[in-house]
């Protein structure tokens, strides 16, 4: 089955459930309607996408026969109740999303003035109109099936004091496709930091998360979006991050893949304003048969903008990683300073990595660089370590961790940075093979929902 056929099936399901959906909020109905209109085109363009490993294409990701939760039934409130992700003891505004049902009534705590967080089911009309383009963006299958999501609005000048953490949890007895959506509308001169964690509480069950994170970074605003994926081999993810940046804004995105199945991350950043700064980074540790693709399309439209990209992948066993980075500098985007770095190591002979950095420059006055390297661990270093008694496998893990260190070190969010060093070390030691053993200390009961 291809994506168009899959979409057709889901559409039929949606139509058969028109009765239930009639009672849905207008906002969601509108998204659904628009998705139906856009679907055919968009799915065709995705079908043609040959840049990513076959398994990461939407044609493969959406092909299995997943169940869906159109009635927005919350079968698992108890999980949300017992689940608290702390990363650890993180002082934050917390939202827990079990499958596609958003829980935050009690966990969020008191929000500071200027920060508003809503379920997509009850965004006030004035906001949903104002942010309608941002809200409706997403892969059509996800949009078609969307029944909930998180809407974050940061008012002009509001610098949010604590991070917002969103914990996505899968829990289901049947295969499940879950649409997820996070909207961040950061008004001028505001600042907000968001951490998204993906877990699975039914690690053996097939799941697909079809997720859109849509961010508007207003003039002079700063938005940081971090995510950690630590789920299971049966948990797949198609995640699209879309961001538009106004003048003098700053966007920081960092994505860490520790565990999962097939993951396709897409980053689509449009730098519209002048003098903006963009920092995209990511690291992935792949083993077994894991497959991860990170695909960046960064478009500089404004002048005097700076962008930095640093993506690293360590591929063990028969895993397969991919990085596709496209930086486009428009004709008017003079004085752009764009740098993209992609470094990968293949730790075993069967490991595989595809890297395709791409620069498209339509303006003369720019500084742009890109580099992609894929290599192996340094044999001389391995022997030196072994000669001191460090077993070869341990030496490989230590060198892999060292290889990743700069991606983690450049994260400005200190608690997370320290935690990521530990999480990556544990990952390399094989200590947290699934969420049940996850080191992010998600389950303490001091924060009941």
């Amino acid at each position: 089955m291809n994506a168009a056929e899959a979409f057709g099936q889901y559409l039929a399901l949606v139509q058969a459930n028109a009765g239930i959906l009639d009672r849905e909020p207008d906002l969601l109905a509108n998204i659904r309607e628009q998705a139906t209109e856009d679907a055919a085109d968009l799915i065709e363009t995705y079908k043609a996408d040959k840049d990513v490993p076959a398994e990461c294409r939407t044609t493969s990701l959406y092909a299995p026969d997943y169940g869906i939760n159109l009635s927005h039934i919350d079968m698992t409130a108890d999980i949300a109740a017992s689940f608290h992700c702390g990363v650890p003891n993180l002082n934050c505004y917390l939202a827990v999303v079990v499958n596609d049902v958003v829980h935050f009534t009690d966990t969020l705590g008191r929000l500071p003035e200027g920060l508003e967080i809503y379920s997509l089911r009850d965004v006030p009309a004035k906001y949903s109109e104002e942010s309608s383009d941002l809200i409706s963006r997403g892969f059509p299958v996800g949009s078609l099936l969307l029944t909930d999501g998180i809407y974050i609005r940061v008012a002009e000048g509001c610098r949010v004091d604590k991070p917002i953490q969103i914990v996505n949890i899968f829990k289901s007895d049947t295969p499940l496709l879950t649409p997820r959506r996070i909207i961040v509308d950061a008004k001028p001169e505001s600042a907000v930091r968001i951490l998204i964690c993906d877990h699975s509480q039914s690690p053996a069950m097939q799941h697909l998360s079809s997720e859109a994170v849509n961010v508007a970074v207003g003039r002079g605003a700063r938005v940081e979006i971090y995510d950690i994926e630590e789920s299971s081999q049966a948990t797949h993810r198609h995640r699209q991050l879309y961001a538009q940046q106004a003048g003098n804004s700053e966007l920081v995105v960092n994505s860490t893949y520790l565990h999962g199945g097939v993951t396709a991350n897409e980053y689509n950043v449009e730098v519209d304003g002048d003098g903006a700064f963009t920092d995209l980074s990511g690291l992935a540790v792949l083993s077994g048969k894991q497959i991860v693709s990170n695909k960046v399309v960064l478009r500089h439209k404004g002048r005097h903008c700076t962008s930095r990209q640093l993506f690293k992948t360590a591929v063990f066993d028969k895993a397969h990683g991919a990085f596709g980075g496209r930086v486009i500098v428009d004709q008017n985007a003079c004085d752009t300073d764009a740098a993209q770095t992609n470094r990968n190591i293949l730790v075993s002979p069967d490991a595989r990595m595809d890297a395709s950095p791409q620069l498209e420059i339509y303006c003369d006055e720019v500084k742009a660089s890109h580099g992609a390297t894929t290599g192996q661990l340094d044999e001389q270093a391995l022997f030196y370590m072994q000669s001191r008694g460090i077993p070869r496998d341990d030496a490989r893990r230590m060198l892999t961790q060292a290889f990743m260190a700069d991606v983690i070190d450049h994260i400005g969010y200190e608690v997370l940075r320290q935690r990521l060093h530990v999480l990556v070390e544990k990952r390399l030691n094989g200590d947290s093979a699934s969420c049940s053993a996850c080191a992010s200390a998600c389950r303490t009961n001091n924060n009941e929902i």
Partner: protein
């Protein structure tokens, strides 16, 4: 006569099909210091590398027995655990791995091999402090990445520091004196002497008599074209210093 600590017999080894060691025989007993000298390119570092298990080299013939264990069948890490230590002629830089983590991994791997519990953090740090003192290694280097940006002399000191931590039964010091200033040479040689006992042994590879003034050898060997062509007492090193290698080369090439 005391038991043999190392017995190398007819050892042949090479790289990419090119033979470098062409039949090395060497016997070392506990408590002894052997110096190995020889012209550049004669195979001294190759011999050290082969004994330590450098995977670049292939052994084609011969054997090496280390206190009765078949050394050549062991992985490099197990050779270390069995008590072999190589001070590298060119210590390797490992960016991103701190000295502390590196040494902790090494110490605990050995303890695990010996069936012991990992060392507590406090004991480990205390030991690190004591061992650093042996070669007066700067405290600041401990928090840096292994050998990264270390000066030539600091790298060599760092090798002997690691030797002090691992307490090997046989140490091979491959040109540990090169790159050391006069004071450092005395300190490092002093460190090596402090670690000597009648149970362990040392192979000192050097080009210069000066190191041998500090670390007094019992036996001096000359390696030439992959073979030990001459063996003598400490006076041999002095003779080489005076006469150079030509007479040795002529003698050997006649054969």
């Amino acid at each position: 006569m005391a038991e043999e600590l190392l017995k190398v017999s007819n050892l042949h080894a090479g790289i990419d099909g090119k033979e470098i060691l062409r039949g090395v025989n060497l016997t070392i007993r506990p408590g002894e210091v052997h110096a190995i000298m020889g012209p550049n390119g004669s195979g001294k570092s190759t011999l050290s590398g082969v004994l330590a298990g450098d995977p670049r080299f292939t052994v084609t013939e011969g054997s090496a027995s280390f206190h009765g264990v078949d050394l050549l069948s062991l992985s490099p890490e197990d050779r270390s655990h069995e008590g072999l230590f190589l001070s590298f002629q060119y210590p390797v830089e490992i960016p991103g791995v701190t000295m502390v983590n590196f040494m902790r991994a090494a110490v605990n791997a050995k303890r695990k091999y010996l069936g012991e519990e990992p060392m507590s953090a406090a004991d480990f740090l205390k030991m690190m402090r004591q061992k650093r003192a042996v070669v007066e290694l700067d405290n600041k280097l401990a928090s840096r990445s292994v050998n990264e940006g270390f000066s030539g002399g600091e790298k060599k000191r760092n090798e002997i520091f690691q030797m002090a931590v691992l307490e090997p039964r046989l140490s091979i010091l491959d040109e540990t004196d090169s790159g050391l200033d006069i004071d450092a040479l005395r300190i490092v040689a002093g460190g090596v002497n402090k670690l000597r006992s009648d149970r362990n042994a040392t192979i000192v590879i050097t080009h210069y008599q000066r190191l041998l003034d500090y670390i007094k050898p019992d036996v001096v060997h000359i390696l030439y074209k992959g073979r030990i062509v001459h063996t003598g007492g400490p006076e041999l090193a002095l003779e080489l210093e005076e006469r150079g290698y030509d007479w040795i080369k002529q003698e050997a090439d006649k054969l």
